[in-house]
């Protein structure tokens, strides 16, 4: 049973991806993708029923697993090195060349093995598997019509979709492997696959900018890979074990282990694009939107958070923990500030993703049961809402040929369904009673004892509201007396979007269940009591069900008022000098001045050019503090 599940979760998506390469027709390819995704998602659900486990699958297709992974690891590094040479980037050659040499040296002379199981899943892994397999699958399915339209738009002579879906679907398997493996060399292997998938997918469109940004992603993730490898070797030499569980069990008490953990967290930071490594994720937005949704917001970047969360018991109560919390909180506030000056929707989402990842990492750094709960819940809720928002932006972009939020004015009329779903996505990102805010509430209450962190969280959460509120308002706005139109929405776009929007709402409603079933087993002591759908502890209380009922009632009454409204539609006020059709006003000499809206972007205060350098300097110093503190 266990081996079958592991096979379905890890190997099947990779095989499915490979099958995309060979099947001849696009309909068959679509079927393969949908089938693989459905099977993976079903397997993740049955894993939920199966519960936590640990085990050592010996063989896959009669090949010993360990040998296979070691072999593939060198093959993968070799392939990346090949790309590094074809890109003629000396730094990447150096980083990956070093990794091959160091890994070979490690495997041959240094690695100490114990009999610990190679795969291990607690509820944290299961949560990750669910997110990857369900949200990930929805995004892959969304990708089928998206890529068709994308290629039609680019007028490609020969379709590049097989290659695209190889990496997109195969990535699901690698990611599942990353979160389920307990042997740190396995984790390293899957970590490198995700780097490689990301590199290939960012560069998918083969434009100059795409290749440049893919190179940057490979470079920065290569730094992460080196940090991971060094941390791994160091941890192995200190504890004599390759099992993450055993390394964590050695805890902060083991001499010198803390620095190894800090290196692995550094790798997590690069993967999660934390400051000052944020540039690769911003560049990654050139990739087709399913890639941004899947790799660069919902799942892959969460691998970084997962690593830090996974190792959090190993640094709990140390200075390293506090330093990680401060770094995360700084990323949270600084990237939220940078997002204020942006009008490019994907860039806003990218910054906001980094910001939320920072909050999760801050929670992991704080390490209290309450903070860990906040981190894990945020991880889930953020994945659903942000995946949804990215997919919405992608869909909208294919219709209006712009990803600028200024151009999204009037969408509630021109694309009513897409606009409504986007607004739901935005609301679930920033308002109670929805999950993201629930986790943010937990995070703030958990951080209240750490003054540095709490001040940054307070400012950051206000900035977040600003970013999303004006976007939502833009979506709602409409020209005077515009008649609603019907915009086409293919079934395979509509279904994933609605599933994610519904999921974001329903999962928030299920937050108390999620907490008791999946988060509680992870923490030493229960941070909250659950009664009547309310999370309570001596410090605070969050009324999940009551608020759902009350605010739900409010929303329902509002909706009823809208439906029953007999309000006259008046033209907007233009000082009385309206044009006859009220689309603008009469200017000097009666010249018509059409109405134009424009958001405040406060570039004078929050501009990227004004802030980025100082923020990077600050983040670099904090990072130095973190690494130095771990020595």
């Amino acid at each position: 049973m266990l081996e079958t599940l592991l096979f379905l979760l890890v190997v099947l998506p990779i095989l499915g991806g490979a099958a995309c390469l060979v099947v001849p027709s696009r309909y068959l390819r679509g079927a393969v993708i949908v089938g693989t995704c459905a099977l993976t998602a079903a397997a993740s659900l049955s894993l939920l029923g199966y519960g936590p486990f640990s085990g050592t699958p010996e063989t896959v297709f009669l090949i010993p697993v360990r040998g296979l992974i070691t072999l593939l690891d060198f093959v993968l590094l070799g392939v990346i090195l090949f790309y590094a040479f074809s890109l003629k980037n000396r730094l990447i050659q150096l980083l990956f060349g070093f990794q091959i040499v160091a890994l070979a040296f490690f495997e041959m002379f240094m690695a100490k093995h114990t009999a610990a199981p190679t795969f291990f899943a607690d509820t944290l892994s299961i949560v990750m598997v669910l997110v990857i397999s369900i949200v990930g699958s929805l995004i892959c399915i969304y990708g089928i019509p998206y890529m068709q339209a994308h290629e039609e738009h680019l007028h490609l002579a020969k379709t590049r979709q097989p290659r695209f879906f190889l990496f997109l679907v195969g990535f699901l398997g690698a990611m599942n492997g990353l979160v389920l493996a307990d042997d740190i060399t396995f984790v390293y292997f899957f970590f490198e696959i995700t780097t490689f998938c990301s590199f290939m997918l960012i560069g998918h469109d083969q434009t100059e900018i795409a290749i440049k940004n893919a190179t940057r992603a490979l470079l920065l993730n290569g730094v992460g890979g080196v940090a991971f490898l060094l941390g791994m070797i160091w941890a192995n030499s200190v504890t004599g074990s390759l099992s993450i569980q055993e390394i964590i069990a050695a805890g902060p008490a083991a001499k010198g282990l803390l620095f190894a953990v800090a290196l692995i967290c550094l790798a997590g930071f690069t993967k999660a694009a934390q400051l000052p490594f944020q540039s690769w994720l911003l560049g990654a937005m050139v990739a087709p939107t399913p890639v941004s949704a899947l790799l660069h917001s919902s799942t892959m970047v969460k691998a970084g958070v997962f690593l830090v969360l996974r190792f959090s018991p190993a640094f709990a109560g140390t200075f390293l923990g506090t330093a990680i919390a401060v770094c995360g909180a700084f990323t949270f506030v600084a990237t939220a500030a940078l997002a204020v000056s942006q009008s490019n929707a994907k860039k806003i989402l990218a910054y906001s993703t980094i910001s939320n990842l920072g909050l999760m990492i801050a929670c992991a750094g704080l390490g209290t049961p309450q903070a860990i709960t906040a981190g894990v819940l945020l991880l889930v809720f953020h994945a659903v809402s942000k995946g949804l928002l990215f997919c919405c932006v992608g869909h909208i972009e294919q219709h209006i040929h712009s990803r600028d939020i200024e151009d999204m004015r009037g969408l509630s009329v021109t694309m009513p369904r897409a606009a409504l779903i986007t607004i739901i996505g935005l609301v679930t990102m920033m308002m109670p009673p929805f999950g993201v805010l629930l986790s943010k509430w937990m995070a703030i209450e958990a951080a209240a004892d750490n003054l540095f962190v709490i001040v940054m969280l307070a400012v950051g959460s206000a900035l977040t509201v600003l970013i999303y509120a004006r976007w939502g308002g833009n979506m709602m706005s409409a020209p005077y007396k515009a008649q609603p139109q019907k915009a086409p929405m293919p079934l395979l776009v509509g279904l994933p979007l609605m599933a994610m929007a519904g999921g974001a709402v329903l999962l928030s409603l299920a937050a108390p269940v999620l907490y008791t079933r999946l988060v509680l087993p992870l923490v030493k002591s229960a941070p909250y009591d659950v009664a009547a759908g309310t999370l309570t502890n001596p410090v605070g209380s969050f009324l999940v069900y009551p608020l759902f009922i009350l605010l739900g009632f409010g929303f329902f009454m509002a909706l009823r008022a809208v439906l029953k409204s007999k309000a006259t539609v008046l033209p907007p006020y233009f000082g009385g000098a309206n044009l006859p059709d009220s689309t603008g006003f009469k200017g000097p000499l009666g010249a018509p001045v059409p109405y134009q809206g424009g958001n405040y972007y406060l570039t004078g205060v929050f501009g990227e050019d004004k802030l980025t350098m100082w923020i990077n300097v600050g983040a670099g110093m904090l990072l130095a503090m973190m690494m130095g503190g771990a020595l």
Binding site: T568, L570, P571, Y573, G576, A577
Partner: protein, 148 residues
């Protein structure tokens, strides 16, 4: 009961908007004088809102001409019902001394229906306040007939 309260409140909260159709500013100054501490019309709940969508009473001063009649009409149309219009000063009533000019339409009532006329050149603040009160009386009369 709610209806009763609304009807009472209507008479106690006339928010005004003042539109100057090209007056010589004489009447405008008198309108503003009503808001000063000396006359203090806020005693009666009068607020000068400067936005037709929030206003109940439109005070118009000055001569209506072919250029500004569109603006006058637009502002009147943007006021939700029930609403009152008060024409102030000789010009507002009939065009005043400018009534024969080629570009002049005439009084305010050539463009929109007027409820109360305040004569004078300029009209006195007391007369303007009295006009608002008279307008409210008209509103009360309409309410009695259950027209609104």
């Amino acid at each position: 009961m709610l209806k009763n309260m609304i009807q009472t409140s209507r008479l106690k909260s006339p928010w005004i908007i003042h539109f100057d159709c090209g007056s010589c500013n004489g009447c405008d100054i008198e309108v503003l004088a009503c808001l000063t501490p000396l006359y203090d019309v806020e005693r009666f709940g009068v607020v000068n809102v400067g936005n037709p969508k929030h206003a109940d009473v439109l005070l118009v001063t000055g001569t209506v001409n072919h250029r500004n009649k569109h603006v006058l009409k637009n502002i009147y149309d943007q006021m939700p019902n029930p609403k009152l219009v008060i024409a102030i000063g000789a010009c507002g009533l009939s065009g005043g001394v400018f009534r024969e000019a080629p570009n002049v339409v005439g009084g305010v009532d050539k463009v929109i229906p007027v409820d109360v006329y305040v004569p004078g050149c300029p009209a006195k603040p007391e007369a303007i306040i009295d006009a608002v009160v008279a307008g409210l009386g008209k509103l009360a009369e309409l309410q009695k007939q259950a027209a609104i």
